[in-house]
Subunit: 399 residues, 2 copies
Amino acid sequence: MRRTSRDIRTANRYEVLRHIIADSPLSRRELAQLTGLSQATVATLVTELLDLGLLTDVGFEDSEGGRPRGLLAVAAGRGALVGVDVAETYVHAELFDLSLKVVARADREVRPGENRPEQVVALIADAVDEVLAGHAGRVLGVGVALPGQVDREGGVSVYAPNWDWHDVPLRALLAERVDPPLHLDNPLHAGTVAELWSGAARGREDAVVVNLGTGVGAGLALGGGLYRGIGNSAGEWGHTTLVLDGRLCHCGNRGCVETYVGAPGIMLNLRELSPSSPLLHPDDQTATVRALAAAAAAGEPVAVQAVRDTARYLGAGIADLVNLLNPEVIVLSSWVTTYLGELLLGEVRTAVARHALRHSLARAEIVLSPIPTDPVCLGAATFALERALAPTPTMRRTP
Amino acid sequence: MRRTSRDIRTANRYEVLRHIIADSPLSRRELAQLTGLSQATVATLVTELLDLGLLTDVGFEDSEGGRPRGLLAVAAGRGALVGVDVAETYVHAELFDLSLKVVARADREVRPGENRPEQVVALIADAVDEVLAGHAGRVLGVGVALPGQVDREGGVSVYAPNWDWHDVPLRALLAERVDPPLHLDNPLHAGTVAELWSGAARGREDAVVVNLGTGVGAGLALGGGLYRGIGNSAGEWGHTTLVLDGRLCHCGNRGCVETYVGAPGIMLNLRELSPSSPLLHPDDQTATVRALAAAAAAGEPVAVQAVRDTARYLGAGIADLVNLLNPEVIVLSSWVTTYLGELLLGEVRTAVARHALRHSLARAEIVLSPIPTDPVCLGAATFALERALAPTPTMRRTP
Ligand SMILES: [Zn+2]
Ligand SMILES: [Zn+2]
């Protein structure tokens, strides 16, 4: 209710385009049904999107006994979007066409200790340059997801606990190397929007996307849309207390969920069981988690126990989300899930059941993200797309 | 988007009436501005509400240089609503006029062990009879807030941990004693709606209402409206884990927030400091909390320390809400807050600051509920009002 008519117009354009991307081709009538907007509003929005070159007419379909209806599809090749997933250990950049298909990808490694802002900016810029190298058409925008708390209006990394970043003006730094528009947000929000568009939260009313990486967090999709909180910082489940006075966390608190189920926490779970385990690569989270996954899959007792311990902590933390938010689905995502998800899932479900209220548990599915590419890149690209849809003075057709 | 046009119509009626109750008198134009609805829609809704006898014309006001505008107010005396707050230790019933002013009140005590469904039904029915005794006009509905998880569609108490109730068909039992329509929900939701209408969450985008009683919970007002979750069970913060493997909870989990900051948890905090404290009334939570508050206010060291310990647990639990939900305001409410709120507030703020992320903390006020009567009765009455606004076939005026 506090949104301006310009906000509502952007949101409606985005809704129409989102449905066409998801279910192309669609008629105007089908769009009205799917979006709940009036046919007149849909007709206006479709005309605008056609004029912007984002949609294309793809022929006609006979409706039953009625007059033929125009079908609309995304003009996939008429523009591109870039989505960048910046994590503590890597940078992934993906180039998308307007149907949100990945057309190019570049990866960079963030080495331990090489995480000063100018180093990270260089990695992002290099990766974006690489995916755009063979691309000739227009780029509607670049979305960048950064770990931690992000002021998306100001384009500032407010706080990244694992890098000890405070108030880094990342969009300004990045603008010297990457052409705008640049859109900053965090991976929780990006990954959650990706699940809403094309993953396990699609069509769900209330969903939680649990990101398991170096840091951990819970993106919240409540009432069918992303919930951001008043300062765009909702989702910091990784810094909720699981063990009062427990393990010390980067954030200054003790016993945070993240210290038990983030990649460094998992390494510590393993080290507590076997201080000299050959699975431990002290300076390499990725190598350790990969080795742990392989060993657990092969049935090595220490590895199996470390996964079980991690699942126990994770289950207690997820039960908190089930009890507090009563969601329909909990989606596990991010790179630790890629390695350990299948191994964790059964134990996690058992642990959640031990901690959660029966009535809430009964409604909560727990699944692995079904998105085959990097959901955070996809979500970051959709943020850039959303921004590109905001009407500018020259875009306005009706008063 | 998945709401039917009937749902939307009810919601719009409710919005219009809500604004008139809060800011009476209002013109149709002001209502359109406040609700974001079109002037035509507001005009239709106002006509319907006038026809239903819920509104009244209260004269005209000159707009600046324009034609005079009709001002609308609630027809306060043209109907009544009953709101009932059922807690583990008491039943409060309040009779409201249509402007939601309290016009009568009745209290009953729920004695230890006297909490079988038929006993609680008798207490509710007696209290409702008492507030209605002198009332001659029409009653639009009775809202009843019950502790624990409530299926409001089915009118069933799904689970009340402190009473060990499972799937009790309370609306059906109550219908033998109290005239319908009867509307069931839980005190978290009722108290949260009361704060949204006329308390500390009014005009706030994202708020959390922390109920501190025998049980504890956190009502969530996200995006300006009550968040219920998929099974109407959102808010069970009392059963999130604060101390893994900590104190055993009624729910079967260990270390739940409730076991440290619910009234029995506070008694245990006191007992751990001083097993034979004269402040302890083993079978009477209310007397113990009252005695503790008086002793702490008088500076008795053990009482001061018990309040401090409670604030420490409470602060850690509230920091979880700050980090996960990034709200604008946290409102402390319910009967334990009535006794201990002023004593807890400073220590709680300090404890939250120790655990929460700085950026999220900076946006989160922590306040005591400003509602002078029982917010849960008020909220339960508004649920009954909302239900009364649902168009029935005979109410429909336009196709
Ligand atoms: Zn932390
Ligand atoms: Zn519990």
